[in-house]
């Protein structure tokens, strides 16, 4: 009898709901029963409502059980789960779970599947094939491939990645940099974290390809301090990849070099803005810079710098491996390829859904998410992080693509979707948006620094029922000033959740002195 392999996610989201205890219980139980097992700590499949979700191999395929508690372990052994035995927690073949089966996983194809600590597992699943192809191409051909793929920045700004690369490639300098923005601060987003924890070698591959394409020999991953587990996984992967010749001097005997290091943020949301991030890397307060000059011309230490989000960089290898045309076949309009959407908040089945652009917000929330966790009606969804608009169910037919969302004064951002049920008070959420902006403002420009504080005060007055009509008018005016005059997206977009709350949920702002205080919808 061969040793059975058990997969228990080492993803921090799974650990937050007990994966560590489950792993320990499995080892303890197998020891006491004298059964040898091979325990693999994979990433998460992204089916978080089923976490901790454990898997075994049966007939050469993965078979899942979940959500598993430590109390279930003895019963699972009794049911011979190591061979895929029947048990109330059995979920069937992992890949046949509809939530997973209906996805189009390109960037996340390895996450949850492989052992993220194992370089050989990565390579056995086509790892570094994109890098090998890139090494065989002229740098300009790599850039062309990325331009043709239509890949746009997944951090939120959606700027064409290949165009950014071309700008850096064409700028002459002795030292260029590639900076990976892993400061995933938007609430409701966790794709970067999952990828760094579940497939760290992929990010290394993407960064190395970017370095080769633009002529940068140094790369830096700026990771937020809230992600210590991801940082450890990356640190270890960089060490392993360097020892195996995939990083460092003369990569795979190609004559090309790329050094990669990690830098930790320190709890500042604004450092997700690229110029604030560069300031932070240079050892200063994370205050945004004026643009121009663009980082592509004068970035880190005044040198040409590519700043890309984790998911943008992690998507490059599949583009090189399968070709730009393959990638560009996915998607809709000018939104090409796939987006890892992250569904959370008050939703029954929260998790990660990688899907081609174009499905509707409603399909995501109802077909995948299954409605609210509380069982109440869905009332609103905030899309694109704390600076994203709140959309009412009326607009859930909006297709998830950059332009369709922009047309609704909303944004897809980094792909986070947070669901709220009928108990939500949208005036409170609007107040929170201003409060968050006030807490996180870097302070450089007045509309953001002062505007956010005044905005919160205005909403406080509205909630208190004080001169509501006039205060709402002033609030709209203030939002206008913030949007037009702020230096970066923090002050420039914090009004989006506020204005959308006013627009679609005006009843929540209605107080006694309003002439026609509408009933709550």
């Amino acid at each position: 009898m061969t040793t059975a392999t058990v997969y228990v996610p080492g993803d921090s989201g799974a650990i937050a709901v007990g994966a560590e205890e489950v792993a320990r219980a499995i080892v303890g139980e197998s020891d006491s029963r004298n059964i040898a097992i091979n325990l693999v700590r994979n990433g998460s499949r992204g089916l978080y409502w089923l976490e901790p979700m454990i898997e075994v191999v049966r007939e050469g395929r993965r078979y899942a059980y979940g959500p598993v508690k430590t109390d279930d372990i003895a019963g699972l052994f009794d049911a011979d789960f190591l061979r895929g035995g029947d048990h109330p927690l059995a979920l069937g073949w992992t890949e046949d779970i509809p939530y997973l089966r209906e996805q189009e996983r390109l960037t996340f194809r390895r996450v949850g599947v492989v052992d993220p600590r194992s370089l050989s597992d990565f390579i056995a699943h086509d790892g570094f094939t994109g890098l090998r192809r890139a090494l065989a191409l002229a740098p300009s051909a790599i850039v062309d491939e990325v331009i043709t793929s239509g890949l746009r920045g997944r951090g939120g700004a959606a700027f064409p990645t290949g165009i950014k690369w071309r700008t850096v490639a064409e700028t002459v300098s002795v030292q260029k940099y590639v900076v990976c923005n892993a400061d995933e601060g938007d609430s409701g987003t966790f794709a970067d974290r999952m990828l760094m924890e579940g497939d760290p070698f992929l990010l290394i591959e993407g960064l190395t390809i970017a370095g080769i394409a633009v002529g940068a020999t140094r790369g830096i991953i700026y990771i937020r301090s809230e992600y210590p587990h991801a940082e450890r996984m990356l640190q270890q992967a960089i060490m392993v990849a360097s020892e195996a010749g995939y990083l460092g001097i003369d990569i795979l005997c190609s004559g090309r070099s790329f050094m990669l290091e990690i830098r930790r943020g320190a709890g500042a949301y604004v450092c997700g803005e690229e110029t604030a991030l560069l300031e932070s890397l240079e050892g200063r307060r994370g205050q945004v810079r004026f643009k121009p000059p663009l980082p592509a011309h004068k970035g880190l230490f005044g040198q040409p710098t590519v700043v890309n989000n984790v998911i943008s960089l992690a998507t490059v290898p599949v583009i090189l491996q399968r070709g730009a045309a393959f990638y560009a076949e996915f998607g809709r309009g000018r939104s090409r390829g796939t987006q890892p959407f992250q569904l959370s908040g008050n939703v029954r089945r929260g998790g990660l859904i990688e899907k081609a652009f174009g499905l509707t917000l409603g399909e995501l929330i109802f077909d995948w998410g299954g409605g609210t966790a509380t069982g109440n009606a869905v009332r609103a969804a905030q899309v694109g992080g704390p600076l994203g608009a709140y959309l009412p169910t009326l607009h859930f037919d909006t297709p998830l693509d950059y332009e369709a969302f922009a047309a609704r004064s909303a944004m897809i951002g980094h792909g986070g979707v947070v669901v709220f049920d009928s108990t939500v008070d949208m005036a409170e959420m609007a107040r929170f948006a201003m409060e968050f902006c006030a807490v996180e403002s870097c302070g450089k420009c007045t509309p953001c620094r002062i505007g956010s504080v005044r905005g919160r005060e205005l909403i406080d007055r509205i909630i208190a029922g004080d001169d509501v009509v006039r205060n709402i008018e002033t609030l709209r005016d203030l939002c206008d000033t913030m949007m037009e005059a702020s230096l970066c997206a923090l002050g420039g977009m914090a009004p989006l959740p506020v204005l959308s709350a006013l627009e679609y949920f005006s009843a929540d702002f209605a107080r006694d002195d309003m002439p026609e205080a509408a009933q709550r919808d």
Partner: protein, 159 residues
């Protein structure tokens, strides 16, 4: 828990040795010191200013900008509660209220007996398992009032 000045100096020297002595090393050096001591002691200002060719004001400016860094030792336990939207959607605000009630402190404060420090955090990346918090660095998801109660009981916080 007080840390002797000798020990503080030893950690500061070590943090500077581990990093290149250039201004951009300030954040890694501060992280190294705080990882070891839980806070940035007064002693660090002159040492870092001298070693990294910065002014004391530069160093204070950076420490005060980033919410991670603190100038006072925290309590024996550190509770960081996520205040972001996904956690709010799953009852985060009632957790906030309960934590405040039981600890009798606001955010950014430490209980009088130095037992627990409470800090807000805006997203821990566990949004699909909301609401979330970290207690002494360990991440907990799907924290309802009952689960919170168990965690606080373990810290022997009076009900």
């Amino acid at each position: 828990m007080t840390i002797s000045e000798n020990e503080q100096q030893r950690v500061i020297d070590w943090a500077l040795r581990e990093n290149a002595c250039t201004p951009e090393a300030l954040l890694p050096v501060l992280h190294a010191i705080q990882d070891a001591l839980q806070y940035i002691p007064e002693l660090a200002f002159d040492a870092l200013a001298h070693a990294l060719n910065l002014s004391r004001a530069d160093i204070f400016g950076v420490i005060s900008f980033y919410s991670d860094f603190r100038l006072q030792p925290p309590g024996r336990h550190l509770l960081r509660l996520c205040r972001a939207e996904a956690c709010q959607a799953m009852g985060g605000r009632s957790l906030e209220a309960e934590v405040r009630r039981r600890l009798q402190i606001e955010f950014h404060a430490t209980t009088d007996d130095g037992h627990v420090t409470l800090e807000p955090v805006y997203c821990l990346g566990a949004c699909a398992c909301a609401p979330a918090l970290t207690l002494d660095g360990s991440l907990h998801g799907r924290v309802d009032l009952a689960r919170l109660s168990v965690l606080l009981d373990q810290l022997e916080i009076p009900r």
